[in-house]
């Protein structure tokens, strides 16, 4: 295409107009974002307009937006367990073989051979998540959870031994484990509560934390296959305040919104058909 003089002028005109539009947008943005909005919003953050402009431009640090008075509270943690990379590494590296020997010597008298408890007084353990066993044993040891039989047992074990026992009970194959997916019983209302929750009471589904690999808190134990007596006792203990080693009230909160009948039926539901 041959260049025509009028075409060149046309392009110049367009170029000038485009540059003006870009410059206008830039100017508007600078005035609006760095001056008008900071000045108008300064009272919200309790600062004067000049400080607000300096913060918007980046000459002054934006944080803290308002200095906070020092916290007078003292920490009163309900559990000392921290899910740090170090803890996760101990759990991942734990050898289940010494764990098996320890379990045989220490745990099996109550929790049964291969973690299948013969009595309703003691929960099944095989198939349980390693993180859950580690958390509870640590809490028994630190006193965050108390049980006349478990507390002295846990106090005698080292951190590594706890992890080995956790690894042993977690290492069972699905077929051999006492805990694991079960065919639910035909209780439609409770099945809905366990799988869908109850938005009206802001109750999340049990399964959102307790199903394997759902991405909830690491310490959430496997429930399906557990003895209904044990599950019911724990729900009651959480609701009644006898047990409180659940970080940030997760279970105390949920259980306080359940009726006694629902606790019974949930325990029944999770025990399932064995």
């Amino acid at each position: 295409m041959t260049e025509q003089p009028t075409g060149g002028r046309e392009r110049d005109r367009w170029g000038f107009a485009a540059a003006m539009v870009v410059a206008g947008v830039l100017l508007f943005s600078v005035v609006m974002g760095l001056i008008v909005l900071p000045v108008l919003q300064a009272p919200n953050a309790g600062i004067d307009p000049w400080t607000a402009i300096c913060r918007a431009v980046g000459l002054k640090a934006g944080s803290p937006a308002q200095p906070q008075p020092p916290v007078s509270a003292t920490a009163a943690p309900v559990s000392q367990v921290r899910w740090t990379p170090a803890t996760l590494k101990i759990l991942a590296a734990a050898d289940p073989r010494p764990g098996a020997a320890l379990a045989q010597a220490v745990c099996s008298a109550c929790h049964g051979e291969a973690g299948l408890s013969p009595s309703t007084d003691f929960p099944h353990l095989s198939g349980q998540s390693g993180a859950a066993i580690y958390k509870q044993l640590s809490d028994f040891r630190s006193g965050a959870r108390f049980n006349a039989q478990m507390t002295p047992v846990a106090k005698k074990l080292t951190d590594e031994q706890l992890a080995q026992i956790a690894a042993y009970y977690g290492s069972f194959s699905r077929r051999a484990a006492a805990l694991g997916p079960r065919y639910g019983i035909g209780d439609a209302a409770i099945s809905r509560l366990a799988n869908r929750g109850d938005p009206a009471r802001a109750l999340p589904p049990c399964e959102s934390c307790h199903a394997r690999g759902v991405g909830g808190p690491p310490e959430a134990p496997v429930l399906s296959g557990q003895q209904r007596e044990y599950l019911y006792r724990q729900l009651r203990a959480f609701a009644g305040g006898q047990r409180g080693n659940d970080v940030y009230r997760r279970m105390r909160d949920v259980s306080s919104h359940l009726s006694d009948d629902e606790m019974h039926r949930l325990a029944e539901f999770y025990q399932g058909l064995s």
Binding site: G46, R55, V71, A76
Partner: protein, 181 residues
């Protein structure tokens, strides 16, 4: 290509440019309106906290959560967003007085808004989200989690109970909690 064709193309391009500029302008005006008239602004607080130790920290230990009137009269509500609840579930705050809300998460990213107010922030593990506001409406305001946080996300919501300033009576330790309804 004929000159008529070229002009037709230019006209069409200009029409679409006008539509695009108008759409962007409307959105920007809405943002500016919200910023000025509704006092909605992005939270600017950058404050770090270790999420693994949140339950061991002094500030976000369980007993220190909820509303507290500090020694200097400042009203602060500390709330932990965790899977799948706000702790505490219900927080009392007075109307027409400046209040500070401080949030943190020990697990995953959460978010929240308090319906009908300018409180709207994400709660990112590792940081403290801090919001200042003055609540104008009294009553129970819904505070849902608005950042997908897991399978129980849809059941995760809390309540901000705004009471008239005269009915806001902190205890001797400066704390106020929701009475069971």
């Amino acid at each position: 290509m004929s000159e008529a064709d070229e002009r037709a193309i230019v006209r069409s391009e200009i029409r679409w440019a006008v539509v695009a500029i108008a759409a962007v302008s409307v959105i920007m005006l809405a943002v500016i309106f919200a910023a000025i008239a509704m006092h909605i602004n992005p939270p600017s607080n950058v404050e770090r906290i270790n999420p693994q130790d949140l339950h061991l920290s002094a500030e976000f230990t369980e007993a220190n959560l909820g509303t507290k009137v500090e020694a200097n009269g400042q009203i602060t509500a500390r709330i932990v967003a965790t899977q799948f609840a706000f702790v505490p579930r219900c927080v009392v705050l007075p109307a027409d007085r400046p209040v500070t809300l401080r949030f943190s998460s020990p697990d995953v990213i959460h978010g929240l808004l308090v319906s009908g107010t300018n409180v709207n922030t994400m709660v990112v593990p590792g940081y403290v989200s801090q919001v200042h506001t003055v609540l104008r409406k009294t009553g129970d305001l819904l505070m849902p989690c608005h950042e997908y946080c897991g399978l129980g996300h849809s059941e995760m919501s809390g309540t901000i109970r705004v009471v008239p300033s005269a009915q806001f009576r902190p205890g001797p330790d400066g704390r106020v909690a929701c009475a069971a309804k």
